[in-house]
């Protein structure tokens, strides 16, 4: 895929919104176009977290596999969203499975490559850290709400009378 087109696609993604054009170019150097078929694993728990993904189209499920229960989907990630941040922190390993639920296209960003560029240019590092933190914050908030089991009603012996 032409670098020019990759740069355009990258710029269109919300994760990159507001990022200085110079840094977008730095990121392009670590970027590639990816495509997953429905049901295809994007990454597996325990695998090397070499990349993260900016999804452009489709939907991926973040799953945990429990032997007696099968695979449980804890969250889905779709178009315009970010999949993965384990590339940022050692030991750079995936904590969950991710699987495409439908035809999914996105931009893969090479973690090692980007980490190198961030070490050289801390400004880029700061910008990426900010954006990744925002993703983490949104996920944390959503997860907290999920934990509340909001739609459950405590079993009652008497109703309001």
């Amino acid at each position: 895929m032409e670098i020019e087109t990759l740069k355009t696609l990258l710029s269109e993604h919300p994760f990159v919104s507001g990022l200085n054009s110079r840094y977008v170019e730095l990121m392009v150097g670590c970027a590639s176009n990816v495509r997953f078929k429905p049901g295809e694993f994007i990454f597996r728990e325990g695998g090397n977290a070499d990349q993260f993904y900016l999804l452009r189209h489709g939907r991926a499920a973040i799953e945990i596999y429990a032997a007696e229960r099968g695979s449980i989907t804890v969250m889905t990630v779709g178009e315009g969203e970010v999949l993965g941040w384990s590339w940022l922190f050692p030991p750079y390993r995936w904590m969950f499975d991710a699987r495409a639920l439908e035809l999914t296209r996105g931009i893969a960003l090479d973690g090692k490559c980007l980490r190198g560029k961030c070490d050289e240019d801390h400004e880029l590092g700061y910008e990426l850290m900010k954006r990744s933190m925002q993703v983490a914050e949104q996920r944390l908030q959503a997860t907290r709400l999920q934990l509340l089991n909001l739609y459950d009603v405590r079993p009652l012996s008497t109703e309001a009378r």
């Binding site: 695979s71 449980i72 989907t73 969250m75 908030q141 959503a142 089991n149 909001l150 739609y151 309001a160």
Partner: protein
């Protein structure tokens, strides 16, 4: 609002036409007047007090079509003695009805704007009449978007209807669940996660939100983040109700009576109240 021609404290006999189980703990009842002739005009968002002989009555949202008031439809969860007793009623059984009560959804105020409906769990029931109304008068509105979240795929209400709506070109339907097994290929995550990318113009949108209070608060936050003005967001509140006519005092929420000033409230008017714990 439709006036109750008779004493609001005295139930009228109505008959069960159909009962249908929606999910493990939720069911839908269609009622007809015991005399067979009477219609009950209502506004989307209003509720009735349904009485089971000798047991008691509870407020239940009307979940049917306000443009077709000859059959009154209610969807409710089984959570206590009265709703359990309602669940046991069969076609042609009698129950008591008082209503309709309350202030409904701003379907007229929303004309000319996009409409985003955010429903959590059983909250879809009082919102369904609003959707019926919007679809019956579709040309008055811009984009219409339904965002619906529930616990698991087995808890999805009105599945067939949702699928029909999903296939319409003039309506966007996004459904999500809090958790699912691998066989579910739809969205997983709380309903608030659907808001950032939902297709509506925040500067020309009316939002109608119903669900657990926590879910509504966070939904408002997400809508606000997208730029929807607080005076364009409407919630449906719930409080203990006994008389539903503004006399018994139970449903007070700050200076408002949920039974007659609500249950639908414009958010900016109740925002200070929602910030006070145990109000």
């Amino acid at each position: 609002m439709s006036a109750t021609p008779t004493n609001p404290l005295v139930p009228e006999p109505w008959k069960v036409q159909r009962v249908h189980r929606d999910t493990a703990d939720t069911f839908t009842m269609e009622l007809e007047s015991a005399g067979g002739k009477r219609e009950l005009p209502f506004a989307a968002g209003q509720f009735n007090m349904l009485y089971v002989y000798g047991v008691g009555d509870v407020p239940i949202s009307i979940s049917g079509n306000p443009t077709k008031p000859s059959s009154i439809v209610h969807t409710t969860r089984e959570v206590g003695p009265v709703t359990s007793a309602l669940r046991k009623l069969k076609p042609s059984d009698c129950l008591g009805l008082r209503g309709p009560f309350g202030v409904g959804w701003p379907v007229v105020e929303a004309r000319g704007a996009d409409v985003v409906i955010v429903a959590g769990g059983i909250g879809l029931a009082p919102l369904r009449p609003a959707l019926y109304h919007l679809l019956a008068a579709r040309n008055y509105y811009g984009k219409v978007v339904l965002l619906y979240g529930t616990r698991t795929p087995a808890d999805i209400l009105f599945r067939k209807e949702l699928q029909n709506w999903h296939s319409r070109f003039d309506l966007e339907v996004h459904v999500t669940v809090d958790r699912a097994m691998g066989s579910w290929h739809g969205n997983v995550g709380v309903v608030t996660t659907l808001i950032p990318r939902a297709p509506f113009d925040p500067h020309s949108t009316v939002a109608m939100v119903c669900g657990p209070e926590v879910m509504m608060r966070f939904t408002v936050q997400e809508l606000e983040k997208r730029g929807v003005a607080l005076e364009n967001i409407y919630l449906s509140m719930e409080r203990n109700m006994k008389c539903a006519a503004g006399f018994c005092g139970h449903c007070q929420f700050g200076p408002t009576f949920v039974c007659k000033d609500g249950p639908v409230f414009r958010y900016d008017r109740v925002q200070p109240l929602m910030q006070v714990r145990e109000i």
